[in-house]
């Protein structure tokens, strides 16, 4: 069983979290030819915003409230990074506007129905197939929370 490892962010990958997935690098390492104008700025302090926000025009921050998504690791008080430009799919965590409120739920497509599904059995699913005013507002990409020190007990 492999444990959870931590490794330092380094090189060009730090500028693009997608780099590891083989997507194009934001900055390419310069080896020859004319220096890239960007080269001057490679040593800039890391900017978390750059990491979290891929599309500034379409990205909004919202606070999570309540425990209906606890099973999706979204806790009360989390900061949600929501991108409206991302296409919602079956299984996406979405912000939906339902009955005049914004809510965070899983989006599910089942037997031709569109459902909003909580990640907590104490809450009901919501079938929005016929609800004309229900819309998917955006797709949640990150939930940020403070790590709480645990009770170690007798260990």
């Amino acid at each position: 069983m492999s444990g959870t490892k931590a490794y330092p962010v380094s090189g060009a990958e730090r500028l693009d979290p997608d780099a590891a997935r083989g997507e194009p690098l934001y900055l390419s390492p310069v080896t020859a030819g004319f220096p890239s104008p960007a080269e001057d700025y490679v040593d800039r302090r890391l900017d978390l915003h750059e990491y979290l926000v891929k599309n500034p025009a379409a990205t909004f921050f919202l606070w999570a409230s309540g425990d209906s998504m606890i099973g999706a690791d979204i806790r009360d008080g989390d900061l949600l990074v929501v991108d409206r430009s991302v296409e919602p799919a079956h299984g996406s965590v979405v912000i939906a506007a339902v009955e005049g409120e914004l809510t965070v739920k899983y989006l599910a497509r089942k037997d031709g129905r569109i459902l909003l599904v909580p990640a907590n059995e104490e809450y009901p699913e919501l079938d929005i197939t016929e609800q004309e005013d229900a819309v998917v507002w955006g797709v949640v990409l990150y939930a940020i929370h403070k790590v709480t020190p645990g009770a170690l007990g007798a260990r």
Binding site: L15, Y26, L27, S36, P37, A38, D40, Y41, R44, R45, D47, E50, N55, P56, A57, A58, F60, F61, L62, W63, A64, S65, L79, L80, R84, S85, I95, A97, V98, G100, E101, L102, T103, V104, D133, V135, W137
Partner: protein
């Protein structure tokens, strides 16, 4: 400044529908379908209405107290202006449009001109459709897009688009354009105000088509060179540059891409001071004063460096048209947004919350204003006269110190600053 290169084949005007009211609804789906109005901060006049509010017969500029009963009776949602929100959403709309076309000239807080060269013009309808869809999707704001041979025709097309399905195209000389010009009153043309429309009527010129077909000398005699330019634009000849464009009564924008990238704060400071000065001139020419100033800086979207873009709103202590105060506010805004290490491509300012300089309600604070303000009008008039005579920038301001804490506007019914203040982000 007339550029020597050939004008764009087509223009598009992207115009946000009921912009302030739409911003108020973005995080409040419960307001969809309910009438919404937005009040100006200083005098409580209605400055924006949703379609439902328009249908109730609530007029633009009307003081809130005059329609208070009506507002209550119809459960109208009433908001103080929330420029932090409107400015942020406006920025997002502009960025979104820029993701589809190479050049965007912001014209007001909720409008932008897009020049389309021959290659883009060939796909103008498709670009317009895609822009409309993407802006709605990314920002939640619905826009109307007018496409035309000139800015004036594009602007007219956008007005028609707003009343219809959101898209309209007016090519000079097309049968549809002919029809539209024949039924558009001259006073509805971009840049022709009430006074000009009256002059035209007296001379037997009633419609946009009459203006277009009017003799050059005659229109020039009636409305000077601006009227002549408008006639040319209606004929399909590009004649109005951004710097000479009639101002929108809502916001004044001065903004420009740099010739070369700027990395130092001083360079941005100079650019912003210049924009504040230009905007101040326009403000005074239109006999308006501003209560707020927004600073906007950004890197290039198409460069290979990291992207950074930020804006700041500065509330002015009192409504002002004083270049010194505008420059000071611009510096203050820059302090808030500048980050070292980026290669900036563009800087600009926007003046908002505009009100007539004369005849408006007097703010109590003006009575206790420092004596320097008393000379503001004379000083600015002298400044403008010198600069008119000897050229822009002959007389300008040396850098000034920091302003005092900004006077807070009254905004008792302002919605949360949903996108710019941590404590006010929406909860879900």
């Amino acid at each position: 400044m007339r550029s020597t290169k050939s004008p764009p084949a087509l223009w598009a005007l992207v115009d946000c529908n009921n912009f302030y009211a739409s911003c108020e609804r973005l995080f409040r789906p419960d307001l969809i379908g309910r009438p919404v109005v937005v009040l100006s901060n200083n005098d409580g006049c209605i400055v924006a209405r949703s379609n439902e509010a328009k249908a109730l017969g609530i007029n633009m500029g009307e003081p809130e107290f005059k329609v208070r009963d009506l507002l209550k009776q119809h459960n109208v949602a009433v908001f103080s202006s929330n420029y932090a929100l409107y400015g942020d959403i406006s920025n997002r709309v502009m960025l979104t449009v820029e993701s589809l076309v190479p050049v965007v000239e912001q014209y007001s807080i909720d409008e932008a001109f897009v020049p389309l060269d021959a290659a883009l013009a060939a796909n103008a309808d498709e670009i317009a459709r895609a822009t409309r869809e993407r802006v709605r999707r990314w920002t939640g704001i619905v826009v109307s897009i007018g496409v035309g041979t000139t800015r004036t025709l594009a602007k007219l097309a956008s007005e028609i688009a707003k009343k219809g399905d959101g898209l309209c195209r007016l090519d000079a000389g097309s049968p549809e354009t002919e029809d539209v010009l024949a039924r558009t009153p001259a006073g509805d043309i971009w840049g022709i105000g009430r006074k000009s429309a009256l002059k035209l009527r007296m001379a037997g010129i009633y419609t946009a088509r009459d203006v277009r077909d009017c003799d050059n000398l005659k229109i020039r005699a009636l409305l000077n060179v601006n009227g002549l330019n408008t006639a040319f634009e209606l004929r399909g000849v590009h004649s109005i540059e951004m710097a000479d464009a009639p101002i929108s009564r809502r916001t004044i924008i001065s903004s420009r891409s740099f010739g070369a990238r700027a990395t130092e704060k001083e360079a941005l400071e100079e650019a912003l001071a210049m924009h504040a000065t230009l905007a101040g001139e326009r403000l005074r020419r239109e006999k308006l004063r501003a209560s707020g100033l927004a600073v906007h800086i950004r890197t290039s979207r198409h460069g290979n460096g990291p992207f950074y873009e930020q804006r700041a709103n500065v509330s002015l202590r009192l409504p002002t048209a004083d270049t010194r105060e505008l420059v000071r506010a611009a510096r203050q805004g820059l302090e808030a947004v500048f980050q070292r290490g980026y290669s900036y491509a563009k800087a600009g300012i926007m003046l908002y919350d505009l009100a007539p300089a004369e005849g408006g309600q007097t703010n109590l604070l003006e009575l206790i204003a420092p004596p320097a303000r008393l000379h503001e009008k004379e000083l600015m008039a002298a400044l403008d006269a010198v600069n008119r005579r000897f050229g822009r920038g002959t007389l300008r301001f040396a850098a000034e110190g920091k302003a005092d804490a900004a006077w807070r506007m009254q905004h008792s019914r302002r919605s949360p600053r949903w996108t710019t203040v941590w404590d006010e982000l929406p909860k879900v």
